[in-house]
């Protein structure tokens, strides 16, 4: 095959934990890499990075909402607020516009909208194309966000919320914020139909547009109240304007408040452990199909097994992978399934 140079994962982990930007970048590249060798190194990297901090460090925030609602502009405004209080920020911007089914690549345009012009080493932005044909957050986003959590105070994931994707973001972030477009019925429709799980924070952006924004905020507040919600969290609906920089301080405070809420209620660690298991299950399913998952004992059993090894999901993942692979061999021999070892090929046998 190729002589692609891949970094030594254990070394890399040390450098990442020291917060070296070059190592962070190289770690993200590794996690994004689909070569079989890279996959196993990724698992080693994650294993070396994992530890207690993974359950309580930093704050992982998901920002979602319809195209053009102003997610990037709001993230940019939040970054200004966070950076001025000295907190470091990493952003994973998942590009909505890529259409892999059309054969083309992607233009990753969010960066320019998030970044202000000044140079800042306390801010790290990685844009990702949404390479998944069906929409939704690319699986790489999960481990990438965990890597970033080991060395940034705040990690933000921006994704476009259409249809199914909100569910994904809810399975990743500690705090999920939905940015709504004024005078668009989408949000309310989704809420009513239950397509979106209720986000922890609602923002109605473009409050500078006046009445339309206020009306939308009021409608959301009404519809959201009919959903199932946690009794002890208030699900704030904020009126903000990224353009005029109004309401940003309170908006930011809600994120802090939500994180405190999660820690105080003892939910943060549990939430993260659950998200990590969900990712492992999803990855195994992507790689080996439902059938593969069955070979490892089925989704529930796998999830259960993972929930026990809270601190090291990734070693567990590697073990499960090997287990499935060896079962595959015995099930389907002699038709040389090893050829399918390239995990990218989604061996749904």
């Amino acid at each position: 095959m190729t002589q692609v140079k891949l970094p030594d994962p254990e070394q890399l982990a040390l450098r990442i934990l020291r917060g070296e930007r070059a190592a962070v970048a190289s770690g993200l590249n590794l996690l994004d890499n689909k070569l079989a060798e890279a996959r196993s190194r990724s698992a080693r990297l994650l294993a070396s990075l994992s530890g207690e901090h993974w359950l309580d460090a930093g704050h992982l925030i998901g920002i979602t909402g319809p195209p053009g609602a102003g997610k990037s502009s709001l993230v940019s405004a939040l970054i200004r607020a966070w950076r001025s209080s000295g907190r470091s920020v990493a952003v994973l911007a998942v590009d909505p516009s890529s259409r892999p089914e059309l054969g083309g690549g992607a233009l990753l345009g969010d960066r320019i909208r998030i970044k202000n012009s000044s140079h800042d080493e306390g801010l790290f932005i990685r844009s990702l194309a949404n390479r998944n044909q069906l929409g939704g957050v690319a699986t790489e986003v999960w481990p990438m966000s965990w890597l970033l959590l080991t060395c940034f105070d705040i990690v933000v994931i921006e994704t476009v919320g259409v249809g199914q994707t909100e569910i994904d973001i809810a399975e990743i972030g500690d705090t999920v914020c939905y940015v709504a477009q004024p005078a668009s019925g989408d949000t309310i429709q989704y809420l009513k139909s239950g397509i979106i799980e209720i986000p922890d924070i609602f923002a109605v952006n473009k409050s500078d547009l006046g009445a339309a924004a206020r009306k939308t905020a009021a409608e959301i507040a009404r519809s959201a109240s009919r959903q199932d919600r946690r009794a002890d969290w208030d699900y704030p609906v904020c009126l903000v304007s990224a353009a005029m920089s109004t309401g940003i301080e309170q908006f930011r405070d809600h994120f802090d408040r939500h994180r405190s809420f999660l820690t105080n209620a003892g939910l943060l660690g549990k939430l993260r452990a659950r998200h990590q298991s969900a990712w492992v299950v999803r990855l195994l399913k992507e790689e080996f199909g439902t059938f593969g998952l069955e070979l490892a004992g089925g989704r529930t059993a796998v999830a259960e097994r993972l929930s026990k090894g809270v601190l090291n999901q990734f070693e567990e993942y590697e073990r499960l992978r090997k287990q499935i692979l060896s079962r595959f061999m015995s099930v389907s021999r002699p038709s040389s399934p090893t050829k399918k070892e390239h995990p990218d090929e989604q061996a749904i046998v």
Binding site: N33, G103, L107, G109
Partner: protein, 672 residues
């Protein structure tokens, strides 16, 4: 037969767009140009002056005195017009975001020389709107930019009545790929936005408003399709007449005349067989002089070596002589309009008007030109049009002699010289300018400067007209960077949409599906071999605003399967290196047309090195003379592309190979 001279029309103003190195060197050039029969001046400023930075600002590094003259304060302005009587000269300044400032320096200088500003005549380009769409020397957000335009109009109408405070530009739109219809539509939308803003400011009495309308002039382009271009100018005249009569109730038809200056199309001027550009330029000029009722008031022409680099005095002289031959040797100026009454011309004009009206309606529906710029709509339309033009050249549908056909050529004696047949700016010019600026800062009265800047900041905040306080700044010895920064602090800065996010599925691939399909395969296969899809960063370092190349490379790369990061123009080498690191790209492609490629590419390589990315391949494109291309490669740049590499598909093939080679994979070579 030689006709009697007295019946001839006056020729248009003849100018040469020029300026370089320093105020002193440019002054010498202007005086020789005037001696050669040039009848007006057209000042080219350097990029730091155009973007409101002092010569010693980090962003100015490598750009001072390069593509124009650096003007840092009133002393420079004085030097620039040394022995040139301001009250007798017609001076055009290509200045936009800092137009109010340069005009203040000019007025301040006149006052210092005891000349009544009412006698000054000339033009400040001052169309900041098209800067967001094409020209790239914007600073402030659209709101404050509109206000700066309105302030200069309100001021000059009362105090410098012979001045053209703004030149609404469609020229630059065509240079960014616009079709004639787009040129008509967007320029007229801009004019409406400007007039509406002036009207809303309430500074002008209703009765005096027609005078404001009369002061609005235009700066237009003319390309190779000269019949259509001539019709476009007639269309402009008709539409302006109608618009000013109906929307602004200007009753006097004289005040409704469409007054315009021209620079002819340069986008189509070629690097291969550059002598052919002479024919092109002459034919393009024909479009703007042929029809008497739609004739240009002022013309400046590019030079034959346009696509190679900056013109030398001799190259500019040649361009001036083209105008003189047209005006003085031909019988053109002896007739009434020779196109009136032609049904073919009338039909074409009607056609253009209809198209433009439709597009104007579209923009108005979106809330006007500012909204359509902020949303990215217009920029996307322009990028789309330019893409179609390039694809037509690639496919051969649009023939460009010497480029995609008739490429064979004898050796040219024109390009044989030792100077590369272009103007080279002495790198010492920057140092000289910085030294003079620093000496100037020491020599002025600091208290006056502080008070003047405070006055400027106050005016910016309260909404008071910006001109009086700017003129006070000029007289106090304030510098260009200080003026720019004071307003930055009040107005903030702005980065417009890049327009490259045109929908992939709305574009036909020109019946060349096979080509693109094969390329996509190469890109995809190489990505799989490396483990992740190929990711490209297109970077525009420095103050250079030429975005066409970067945009088209980005759009094409996306089309063939790259994941593309492009953050727009005017980034520092540090920002580009940081983006390359954060984004984990496989290749960095720099686009540099300002002539600062040696400094800027070198700086990007150093920044990458400092980030452990010494092995990340970097390529560069733009206006890069052959010997500089070699020097860049010696620095570590893997490949260099210039306008002769018109085939973007071939560039893509090459880019994939550069990535392959740097990652230990075999090159795939040119397509069979």
């Amino acid at each position: 037969m030689i006709s009697s001279r007295k019946k001839r029309d006056q020729p248009w103003l003849m100018r040469t767009y020029s300026g370089h190195s320093s105020a002193r060197a440019s002054n010498a050039l202007y005086r020789t140009n005037l001696a050669k029969g040039q009848t007006g001046l057209s000042v080219a400023f350097d990029l730091p002056t155009q973007t409101g930075y002092d010569a010693d600002h980090p962003l100015a590094r490598g750009e001072v005195g390069k593509v124009g003259v650096p003007i840092s304060h009133i002393g420079d302005m004085d030097q620039l017009f040394d022995q040139i009587p301001l009250d007798q000269m017609n001076t055009s300044m290509t200045i936009n975001a800092t137009a109010a400032w340069l005009l203040s320096l000019y007025i301040g200088l006149a006052q210092r020389r005891g000349i009544d500003p009412r006698k000054l005549s000339g033009t400040t380009q001052n169309d900041i709107i098209k800067e967001y769409l094409s020209r790239g020397t914007y600073i402030y957000p659209p709101g404050p930019s509109m206000r700066l335009i309105a302030d200069t109009i309100n001021y000059t109408v009362r105090h410098v009545p012979k001045w053209n405070p703004t030149n609404i530009c469609s020229y630059h739109l065509q240079e960014a790929g616009a079709t004639p219809v787009q040129e008509l539509a967007y320029a007229l939308c801009t004019a409406m936005a400007v007039l509406d803003t002036v009207k809303a400011s309430g500074e002008i009495e209703v009765a005096a408003f027609p005078q404001v309308v009369e002061r609005i002039s235009f700066f237009v382009n003319a390309g190779m399709r000269f019949v259509e271009e001539c019709c476009k100018l007639r269309a402009f005249g008709e539409m302006w007449d109608e618009l000013t009569a109906t929307r602004y109730q200007v009753d006097d038809p004289k005040l409704r005349r469409f007054r315009y200056g021209v620079q002819v199309n340069s986008l189509g001027l070629t690097e291969p067989q550059p002598e052919n550009n002479v024919q092109r330029i002459v034919l393009e000029m024909l479009a703007v002089v042929l029809s008497r009722r739609a004739r240009a008031r002022a013309i400046q022409l590019p030079a034959w070596n346009e696509a190679m680099g900056l013109p030398r005095p001799w190259d500019q002289q040649w361009a001036l002589r083209m105008q003189q031959v047209m005006a003085f040797e031909t019988d053109l100026l002896e007739y009434e309009d020779i196109l009136d009454g032609s049904p073919v011309i009338a039909a074409k004009v009607a056609d253009l008007i209809e198209g433009a009206k439709k597009e104007i309606e579209k923009v108005e529906e979106q809330g006007g030109i500012i909204a359509a710029i902020e949303s990215g709509y217009i920029k996307r339309e322009l990028v789309g049009s330019h893409m179609h033009r390039l694809r037509a050249i690639e496919s051969g549908d649009l023939q460009i002699i010497g480029v995609n056909c008739f490429q064979e050529t004898a050796e040219s004696p024109l390009t044989g010289g030792t100077d590369g047949a272009i103007m080279k700016i002495d790198p010492a010019a920057e140092r000289g300018q910085i030294e003079r600026l620093q000496a100037h800062r020491k020599s002025r009265n600091d208290a006056d400067v502080r008070a003047a800047l405070q006055g400027l900041a106050d005016a910016a905040k309260t909404g008071e007209n910006i001109m009086p306080s700017s003129i006070r700044c000029a007289l106090a010895g304030v510098s260009t960077g200080e003026w720019g920064d004071t307003l930055r602090a009040v107005f903030g800065e702005f980065r417009p949409p890049t327009g490259i996010d045109i929908a992939i599925d709305s574009r036909q691939v020109l019946g060349q599906k096979d080509l693109v399909a094969e390329l996509r395969e190469r890109v995809a296969d190489t990505g799989s071999a490396l483990g992740r899809p190929l990711k490209l960063l297109v970077g525009k370092p420095g103050l250079d605003g030429h975005s066409n190349g970067a945009e088209q490379v980005a759009v094409k790369a996306r089309d063939v399967g790259f994941e593309v990061v492009y953050d727009g123009i005017r980034l520092t080498p540090q920002q580009i290196a940081q983006a390359a690191e954060e984004e984990g790209v496989h290749l960095v492609g720099l686009s540099i047309l300002s002539g600062s490629h040696m400094e800027l590419a070198g700086a990007v390589l150093r920044e990458l090195h400092a980030r452990d990315l010494g092995n990340l391949p970097v390529i560069a494109g733009g206006i890069i003379p052959p010997e500089d291309a070699e020097r860049l490669k010696a620095l570590g740049v893997r490949a260099v592309y210039t306008p002769k590499d018109f085939n973007l598909n071939a560039i893509m093939v090459d880019m994939v190979d550069v990535i392959r080679e740097c990652n230990g994979l075999q090159r795939l070579g040119p397509r069979p």
